[in-house]
Amino acid sequence: MGDEIKEIVMSHMRKNIIANLLDRGERLDGRKFGEYREIEIQKGVIKTAEGSALAKIGDTQVLVAIKFEVATPFPDRPTEGVLVTNSELLPLASPTFETGPPDENSIELARTVDRAIRSSEAINLNSFYIEEGKVLGLFMDIYVLNHAGNYTDAATLAASAALLDTRLPKIENGAIVRGEYVGPLNPKVIPISTTLVKIGNHWIVDPSLAEEQVYDTRITIATTETHVCAMQKGKGCLTKDELLSNIDIAFKKGSDIREILLSSVSS
């Protein structure tokens, strides 16, 4: 009990420090309100997968790997391929992550990234048809390797990078021929997510771990070049005007990050 009260008092103090700094226009780590930490992307890091990438935003590291399987289509979409997204908040990534089946945060992460990728139409699921009752299933696994804040944006970034790295497997007699490929997946669009949090009176992008521990409101907005393709609000509430101005920020940040992604995967 003593420890819990200490933690509650400490978190109040941490929040005051961070909020007071923001009132003076500063963030704890010296960034501007609209500034991301350094972004780094490596693709093709897992050779056993058909596509993979590691995305780093500051110290946060997320790995996404993509595997294909022959799958049964959904009855209402018999000619469409299947996209399955799963995520693991690995216990080694943070003292707050636990072993066991995915908790609600892990499920929310997987479903948010899934929505961004699916809605953006980056993957043409219609091209995954094999034969009656058989389609390709794209299995995307999100592994959070180091949680230093904002794993959602790192996961979306790693997912988009992994799709750019993905090769379509060769199919013979309704089965995948492992190790042989027919060509790249060539995603048509690249969805990027931007997470913003409000602390006190201020909205900031890409919250660090310290900022994530004290935020009042969180929202993730995923964009393509022209459209919003997914939104997910976490704790807290916001006004309509705040939502719209955050969408503007998400488009701007999305286009900056998309550029970083494209230049780092082409090099």
């Binding site: 819990e4 979409r77 609600e104 976490g234 704790k235």
Partner: protein
């Protein structure tokens, strides 16, 4: 979500069920439907049938989770295995229902005056008996009534509604087919008086301008639902004492 081209969602300006783009489905609400719960409500929204029971503030279990400064708000949203026209669903929580439980809880955490009940928990149980698209927004709307019925102090009433795009039109209160085959879906929850957005999710593709229009349409739709919530509460509390205690 990619719209299936063979499902025409809008014909001559009317939707599949004959509604105009901004028209809501028929909605019925009833407060105080479960004797044993501290608060309860039932909603029929289109063909959705959803029942909600609220318990608490009561002792927090397990005890070590108790917060000495505020009540914990817990929420369990469940879809019954018989709730959809298709196959018999799996019992127990799915990944979808775990996510929805989380976002519904986070909606009400903005509103419930939890600091008045330290060391306790408030449980919101939502069961979808029959599903017809828009279950999360109907669930939030009915849970707000059940919380009010349980006498839980809240800063404001909560009203939820989904808006989106189907057949290239912006529409309010998406039905099941519009949800499945429409171009996008944006469920929202608002506080009734100060119009704060307490829940927002979105999938599909929308431009910024479309989102701006949809937010206005959602606010107007939510106002209609709010009026029905007020009526449902009045109906329960203004009923003469005799009938009320027969329940």
């Amino acid at each position: 979500m990619a719209g299936l081209k063979d499902v025409k969602l809008i014909v001559d300006g009317k939707r599949l069920d004959g509604r105009t783009p901004t028209e809501l489905r028929p909605i019925k609400m009833q407060v105080g439907v479960i004797n044993e719960a501290d608060g309860s409500a039932f909603i029929e929204w289109g063909n959705n049938k959803i029942i909600c029971g609220v318990f608490g503030p009561r002792e927090c279990i397990p005890k070590h989770e108790a917060n000495p400064y505020r009540a914990l708000v817990k929420c369990r949203y469940m879809m019954s295995p018989f709730a959809s026209l298709e196959e018999h669903g799996k019992s127990g929580p799915s990944r979808r229902s775990i996510e929805l439980s989380k976002v519904i809880r986070e909606t009400f955490q903005n509103i419930i005056l939890a600091e008045e009940f330290p060391n306790t928990e408030i449980d919101i149980y939502i069961d979808v008996l029959q599903a017809d698209g828009g279950t999360r927004t109907a669930s939030i709307t009915v849970a707000a009534l059940a919380l009010a019925n349980a006498g839980i102090p809240m800063k404001d009433m909560v009203t939820a509604i989904a808006v989106g795009k189907g057949g290239d039109e912006l529409i309010v209160d998406l039905g099941k087919l519009e949800d499945n085959f429409g171009q996008s879906d944006m469920p929202l929850a608002f506080s009734a008086r100060d119009k704060k957005i307490l829940l927002v999710q979105m999938d599909g593709l929308l431009t910024r301008e479309e989102i701006e229009k949809l937010l206005d349409m959602a606010e107007k739709g939510a106002e209609k639902v709010y009026a029905m919530q007020v009526d449902a509460l009045k109906e329960y509390y203004l009923k003469d004492e005799e009938t009320k205690f027969k329940l």
